[in-house]
Symmetry: C2
Subunit: 197 residues, 2 copies
DNA sequence: GTCTATACTTAGATAGAC
DNA sequence: GTCTATCTAAGTATAGAC
């Protein structure tokens, strides 16, 4: 698969460089020229690997989305609603915490989101699946809005600079507790989650 | 002040046009050329009224921010903590609901935020003041994160397309209730809010 | 004071040579 | 797989017409 061909190397170096520059200057503030200069190649060389700037953006974001997908699959395999909710929430929070620099980047420069939506069948699918996992198939209005606020709040606040210097475990714990509280589920301390609904 | 000079008219038409195009194509997807064409003038004419594209963006966003500022002032004038919190929260929710199309725009295209931050002494000040109003001067970590999640969640979800077809009053009620619940304050039904803390 | 004509710089993107 | 050259469009800027 990933034999160390020159292209593979350039491609991965390119993605690493792009992520670094994106984080420093934002996506909009990073030109292909900058990326090319940093790599010691020309813009055209960059274009050989990615047909458009959006493709680079997507490739940078892909790992987090893939992982979220896997976590949602896992949650859907749970047999009780309570376990589904816990799995979905903890998966969501885990991704937020682990990829928070990426999320911060996206939040600060979300022309990105549109690019991602176009490619990955839409982030909308992610959000819709997540909502169903957490609120069930036919939530009333209050529940639906509540879940939307929760998802948006956890993601945005998780990536926010105010929380940037918290260690992963602390942030994860707090976000998870907030999520459970918002879903009307009791705090759990260490033990396995119980079926509740 | 605002005598009907040609410039004033062009300026306000320009802002209206910009808002419309921004909403349709996003800020990044709207060029000065498009705005100029729509107005039947040249790019340079646009440039006469606003020295940069960011200035247009700021001017479009300004009313909402000004109003939020006023609401925070009002909240700070309240004598009890409980009344401060209620005022701040309801002011915040009101702005979100009334300007939700603007918020949706910003969320979908947040290169904007940086532009606004640069001009209006930073959105950071808004967020910091709001946090202090809602969480008090020296909140513990859990409270601080909780308020951050709430602010981010209400704002983002309020502007989200899922809630787009709710009428203002319904959305306001739900967001306000979610906010109060997250702050650990009892629901109030009709009556004036009581001092609680 | 308001706008047009024009031009400069940089960005994203493409074609074709090596 | 990478480079040179080139194109279009964006944002910015100025000189000058009215």
């Amino acid at each position: 698969m990933s034999a160390g061909t020159a292209a593979d190397d350039t491609r991965s170096r390119l993605l690493a460089t792009a992520l670094r520059l994106f984080s420093k200057h934002g996506v909009g503030g990073t030109s292909l020229q900058m990326i090319a200069d940093e790599l010691g190649v020309t813009k055209a060389a960059v274009y050989y690997h990615f047909k458009t700037k959006d493709e680079i953006t997507e490739a940078v974001a892909a790992p987090a989305l893939q992982e979220l997908l896997a976590r949602m699959d896992e949650a859907e395999r749970q047999r009780t609603r309570g376990a589904q909710i816990d799995q979905a929430l903890s998966g969501f929070v885990d991704i937020i915490v682990r990829y928070r620099s990426l999320i911060a980047l996206f939040n600060s420069d979300p022309g990105i989101m549109r690019a991602i939506e176009r490619s990955l069948d839409g982030v909308e699918n992610f959000a819709a699946r997540m909502r169903t996992l957490l609120a069930g198939p036919d939530p009333d209005l209050a529940t639906a809005i509540n879940v939307n606020v929760m998802l948006a709040g956890l993601a945005l606040a998780g990536g926010a600079p105010e929380q940037a210097d918290l260690d992963d475990e602390t942030l994860r714990t707090h976000l998870f507790d907030i999520g459970r509280r918002m879903l009307g589920r009791p705090k759990r301390r260490g033990a396995r989650a119980e079926d509740k609904s």
